[in-house]
């Protein structure tokens, strides 16, 4: 795959930007071109947040993703808003605990996993985003597990290093569901 445009969307506070950052760092670990662009503005916890991540073998033109190859939707408004923008042949990952998926597209693959529920069941509070990432890694093969591990170790700040195992566990749960 020469070029992959990814859009991650949800409520502020769900870790949409953080999950995007892990994907961007995966690109860095694999020596590929990448960009990460957050929506910025009057967003806050509970408001809407999204971020664009481009991974490519060529220099990246516009870092703004309007028609994603991959969509991660973490709340109902994001799913409803962006599902129609996904490219033909694209893949969608959503949190089926929070989202009732209604859509009429047959040209895309849609994967729902109860990531919020899984996070709660496994004492991984706030780990829903990373569980969805795990699912994405499994279904797209965009990055190897080792790359993801390295990226997580890089993105989690040293002061929060104790959270690295939790993130790795969340990836594993995502890959097994």
């Amino acid at each position: 795959m020469a070029s992959t445009d990814i859009l991650l969307a949800g409520f502020g506070g769900q870790g949409v930007l953080f999950a995007g950052k892990i994907l961007a760092y995966c690109g860095l670990m694999d020596n590929r071109e990448l960009s990460w662009l957050p929506s910025y503005g009057p967003e806050m916890r509970g408001g809407t947040a999204n971020c664009s991540v481009c991974i490519s073998d060529e220099p990246i033109g516009s870092p703004l993703v309007l028609t994603p190859d991959i969509l991660i939707a973490m709340n109902q408004p994001s799913f409803d808003k962006f599902i129609s923008d996904v490219k033909t042949g694209g893949k969608v990952f959503y949190d089926s605990t929070l989202i009732e998926a209604e859509y009429d597209r047959t040209d895309i693959e849609v994967f729902g996993i109860p990531s919020s529920q899984l996070a709660d069941d496994n004492q991984l509070k706030g780990g829903s985003n990373i569980i969805l990432l795990g699912k994405l890694i499994k279904e797209t093969g965009l990055f190897g597990l080792e790359t993801v591990q390295k990226a997580i170790e890089k993105v989690v700040p040293p002061s929060k290093a104790k959270l690295i195992p939790n993130n790795l566990k969340a990836i594993e749960i995502g890959m097994n569901n």
Binding site: L34, S35, W36, Y40, G41, I60, G61, P63, L66
Partner: protein
């Protein structure tokens, strides 16, 4: 690394010792990074009470010969304009960063390029110019900050990095090159304490005698001629055989490049001219880029500002069309391709 943070880190590595700022979206990460890092690097970070105070602190610091910088976004730059004019009138080096957002007035907080005229033509009252650099990637932000500090010292004039909210907020891989900071001799003018060992130096922009003021402006414009001769820089992309030449700078040029590639795929010979310096404008480079072109298309995130310099540079010898988005709307590769097809007469 985020664009705003990269600007800050590059400035510190380029020997910036004083940063004075005032928060404004979308450049606040820059000041936040400075607040964290600057004191460890042996410099001063100060959040001023206003943009006007911040730029006057830059004037004061620059007077002593240290490398000083401020940053803001469009409305804040307007507030700084008086101080920038004083800095230019006092022949002081300084770096000013504008991470542009939509305007006029308070406008919005999304990316824009509507401050082109302000930066290149009218940043304050009086006859003067700033060096204006237009990065298109996070890496270029780093490289251009280093160049801006160097040339500001070399020509004793303020330099601006004209970025936008998209570049400031986005994250890309970046590497920090080994920077050899040129030490310019400032001993003939810097007001850094005479210790009773020399005449005192006066930093001033007030000349009540018209002849003297005229001479100071004439002298400055002689330097601008050297700047125009030596400091232009531009990227020429697929211009050797192009029929249509697109002109764009900064973040817009990234989108334009994608559109140019798509146009080539369907057999339209499109090329791109991207000025990296907006003042001095790369006149020679543009004329070279458009040698084979029949038409030019200028694309900006504004209602059309750089297009004036494009027309002047080629002396209106070829038709120049315009496509723009404004208010914080970013043009898409598809709509630019649409314009290329329309102009190229392809249905």
């Amino acid at each position: 690394m985020k664009g705003n943070e990269a600007l800050a880190e590059a400035a510190i590595r380029a020997g910036c010792k004083c940063f004075f700022g005032y928060p404004i979206t979308p450049q606040t990460e820059l000041a936040a990074y400075m607040a964290k890092r600057m004191h460890k690097a042996g410099g001063v970070f100060l959040q001023a009470e206003s943009e006007i105070a911040a730029i006057n602190m830059v004037l004061g610091a620059a007077s002593t010969g240290v490398r000083a910088m401020t940053s803001s976004s469009s409305p804040g730059i307007s507030l700084k304009s008086e101080g920038i004019s004083y800095i230019a009138g006092s022949d002081l080096p300084a770096v000013i960063i504008n991470v542009q957002r939509g305007g006029p007035g308070l406008g919005g907080i999304q990316p824009s390029q509507a401050d082109y005229w302000q930066a290149t033509k009218s940043l304050g009252h009086g006859d003067f110019q700033l060096l204006v650099y237009a990065p298109a990637s996070v890496q270029e932000m780093v490289d251009m900050v280093v160049t801006a500090f160097d040339r500001a010292d070399k020509y004793r004039m303020p330099a601006m990095i004209l970025a936008d909210g998209l570049l400031g907020q986005m994250m890309e891989p970046v590497s920090f090159p080994e920077i050899n900071v040129n030490a310019y001799d400032k001993s003939s003018w810097a007001a850094d304490g005479h210790k009773n060992k020399r005449e005192h130096h006066i930093i001033n922009s007030l000349y009540l005698k018209p002849d003297e003021l005229q001479k100071s402006v004439y002298d400055r414009y002689k330097r601008y001629e050297i700047v125009k001769e030596n400091e232009t820089d531009a990227e020429l992309y697929l211009t050797e055989d192009c029929d249509i030449l697109l002109c764009a700078y900064g973040a817009t040029a990234r989108v334009v490049k994608s559109a140019v590639n798509s146009a080539r795929e369907i057999g339209i010979k499109a090329g791109m001219f991207r000025p990296k310096t907006l003042y001095p404008f790369p006149v020679k480079e543009l004329n070279k880029a458009c040698e084979t072109a029949e038409k030019l298309l200028c694309v900006e995130m504004s209602m059309g500002q750089m297009i004036d310099d494009v027309k002047l540079a080629i002396n209106c010898s070829k038709p120049v069309e315009f496509f723009g988005r404004t208010g914080g709307v970013i043009p898409t590769p598809a709509e630019i391709l649409g314009e290329i097809k329309r102009i190229g007469g392809v249905k």
